[in-house]
Amino acid sequence: MTAKPVDYPPPFSPVEFVTPPTDPPEERIEVGILIVGAGPAGLACAIRLGQLVEESPELAERLGDVPVAVLEKGKQPGSHILSGAVVNPRGLRRLFEGRKRIQDLPFYGEVEAEGVYFLRHNSSMRIPTPPTMKNHGNYIASLSQLIRWLGEQAEEAGATILPETAAEKLLVDHGRVLGVRTGDKGRGRNGEQLANFEPGSDILARVTVLCEGTQGHLTGVAIDEFGLEGESPQVWALGVKEVWKVEKPLRRVVHTMGWPLRAGAKYREFGGSFIYPMGDDMLTIGMVVGLDYRDAELSVHDLLQELKTNPFVRKMLEGGERVGWGAKTIPEGGFVALPKRLHAPGLLLCGDGAGMVNVPALKGIHYAVESGRLAAEAAVDALRPGRTPSTPGALAAYDEAVRGSFIWSDLQEVRNMRQAFGRGFYFGGALAGAMTATKGKFPPGDMSTERDAEQEIVRMGRSRKYPAPDGKLIFDKLSSVYLSGNRTRDDAPNHLRVQARVPEEIAVMWERMCPAQVYEAADGMVEITPSNCVQCGAITAKGGRLTPPEGGSGPEYTLT
């Protein structure tokens, strides 16, 4: 029996999240430039704006009492941030040019050495590092910690960061984006108002910059509202990672391919693992798998647990202790999935939300930073005297700037890489090699992508191999959710839109897919525990829809 998630669409419609302002005018909050998301793109935008305001007092006046506001749905910047990460410093260098050196940033040092390995269940074999994965000159970071630091810089630069605040609706009137409406707080399980109910607010801004990251809620809404879909649909991978305290320092950046993923084309298991040192006494290990997989029982969290049983990996963790866990999706559609325009009247789209990720290099942070920086400049430019950002085309300079930047040229060069792997590991590998050698000229044209949710799901018995939790090396999902710092209140409304009645394959697929054990398949129904959700976004790729829950809920990442 097979089923396709796309045949069971969630009860969700983007228009639900588009509205003109409804608060009485005197209660609306007005800011100069509104940034949604305190991640690398959002904070780079805020920092650049701070630099521009410092250089120009007239700009400061034009932007008003609150020149730059950044909305963050997590408890604080970094709480919902998760990545590997090996960061290409290019974007940050340009952002802090003349002001700070890369050495001033909270990195775990430069990449000293690296290795790529092909794994089998009991062995590992070093293979030559593909050119797209060379990390010389890059820096290792906990992105969550880097964002904390960037948040402080943004505040020093004059930005107002508003944590625990979800951007729920896009304020649109006469085809122009006027700002966002924040989410309500204090609703009960059935949406009823609790004693401490606090309604959301309309926040109006001259320019709204969406930097929501993967599966950006309003980004998706805006792409629909303004017809911005790219030539190919977006696809995602799910990454689940842990942070470990270890006895033996890991001195190089490691990537693996092969086991525990299966190479056959029928499985469509594309991905691999990363193991990065974090100083002398910690490391991070993560498993990343494309969400177009077909086995209903595939669980990335459990694949990560399985990965740790390989002797090569196990050795690195010997005598160690798990101190962190988290999960998040990564957009993998690349160049062909970018929105056809990155702006609309009064609106700009940045970073992972727009899909700016170089899949073969596993890099997106420097594109996010650069796009945030360019967005700041375009926004300011559109606010020059005599201009207004809400006329159609006023923000087109942003698109031009992005097209002229390294974001565009990099993504174009590797544009078909991911799609090639839809044909299986070995064939895809050969194609990828050809692409790299020809710098993207071969094969010509653009390979098409199918949506993750269009893949047929079949039970293929993968779960038999998952190792049983032992609380020392192998961990279950619930204790992992606990380690993510998630303390969401139990009576919060359900923010996950899925059809309740679905075929067994789909229900089982959701149960296994979700790293936080939100979904449970039971008698043809799906039972949901929304308070477990760490907001990774996988459900949106596989037939459901994640909407932003109450601000402040979800994980509290510190080391991811």
Binding site: I29, V66, A69, K75, Q76, S79, T160, L162, E164, T165, T182, K185, G186, L194, A195, N196, E198, S201, I203, V323, G485, N486, R487, P555, E556, T558
Partner: protein
């Protein structure tokens, strides 16, 4: 009416708490957040102020300089002012030293009502209110689940092991609210944005007229000697039911004197 709320920053519960083996004190170097029970105290103060139509709610706290960040949340809820006692000499203060410092700051404020939350989740702040009330020479009511303030008096419903009492005291007074008292409000966006510009004062030991020796370990009456693992849970037993499990459980309970 001036209401002072004693609040405290504690290590964020989302982060693994640990005791620093060198100082033998709670490692406070990581993320901090306002103690949840203290937000209930702030909420009660705001409710009383709003019911009276006028007044001032001032936050009083003791902690490292960075604790001002956590106090901002209470300012965002609607408190008017924050006072932070911060001094290197104050690190490691126990109940005796902490109550001394807080009482000195509270005397400066001359509040009509001083409110505490139920407890700190870092096990450092329990029963602080009774010590502070004694130093201030004011009546104290604790474990208050319902509070009314009227005609210069406060009336509290105190929850005890035996049920509840209703106790009255004239203002000025000290009260500690239980976690059943209220559900704290979410700060509004305007509140969050306005918090930064509300007055925030930092006081050192000398600002309070206290010697450095009156605070910290020197000013304390207790000390931490050693850290260790909890005793093992005794012999944990596991049995499979062969029809007699219920009887075996009863024997076990009797053996442990739990029946």
């Amino acid at each position: 009416m001036k209401i002072a709320v004693c609040v405290k920053e504690v290590p964020d519960a989302g982060v693994n708490k640990r005791i620093d083996p060198n100082t033998k004190r709670l490692d406070r170097s990581g993320e901090g957040a306002l103690n949840h029970f203290d937000t209930q105290a702030v909420e009660e103060a705001l409710k009383i102020k709003e019911a009276g139509g006028e007044g001032e709610v001032v936050l009083v706290s003791m902690g490292p300089a960075g604790a001002l960040d956590s106090l901002r949340k209470a300012l965002a809820m609607g408190a008017d002012r924050a006072v932070l006692i911060t001094d290197e000499a104050a690190a490691g203060s126990d109940l005796v030293a902490t109550s001394r410092a807080l009482a000195a700051a509270l005397e400066r404020e001359e509040a009509d009502l001083v409110i505490f939350g139920q407890q700190g989740n870092d096990s450092d702040g329990a029963v602080l209110w009774a010590a502070v009330a004694d130093r201030l020479r004011r009546p104290v009511i604790s474990q208050v689940a319902e509070l009314t303030v009227a005609d210069g008096k406060l009336r509290g419903k105190r929850q005890t092991e035996f049920g509840y009492d209703v106790i009255e005291a004239p203002l000025p007074a000290v009260v500690a609210v239980s976690d059943a008292i209220n559900e704290p409000r979410y700060p509004s966006l305007k509140g969050i944005m306005g918090a930064k510009s509300k007055p925030q004062e930092s006081l050192s030991a000398s600002d309070l007229g206290l010697d450095a020796g009156a605070l910290g370990e020197q000013g304390s009456g207790t000390t931490v000697l050693a850290l260790g693992d909890p005793p093992p849970r005794g012999d944990a037993r596991k049995i499979e039911d062969d029809g007699n499990a219920a009887g075996q459980i009863v024997d076990f309970l009797a053996e442990k004197k739990l029946l």
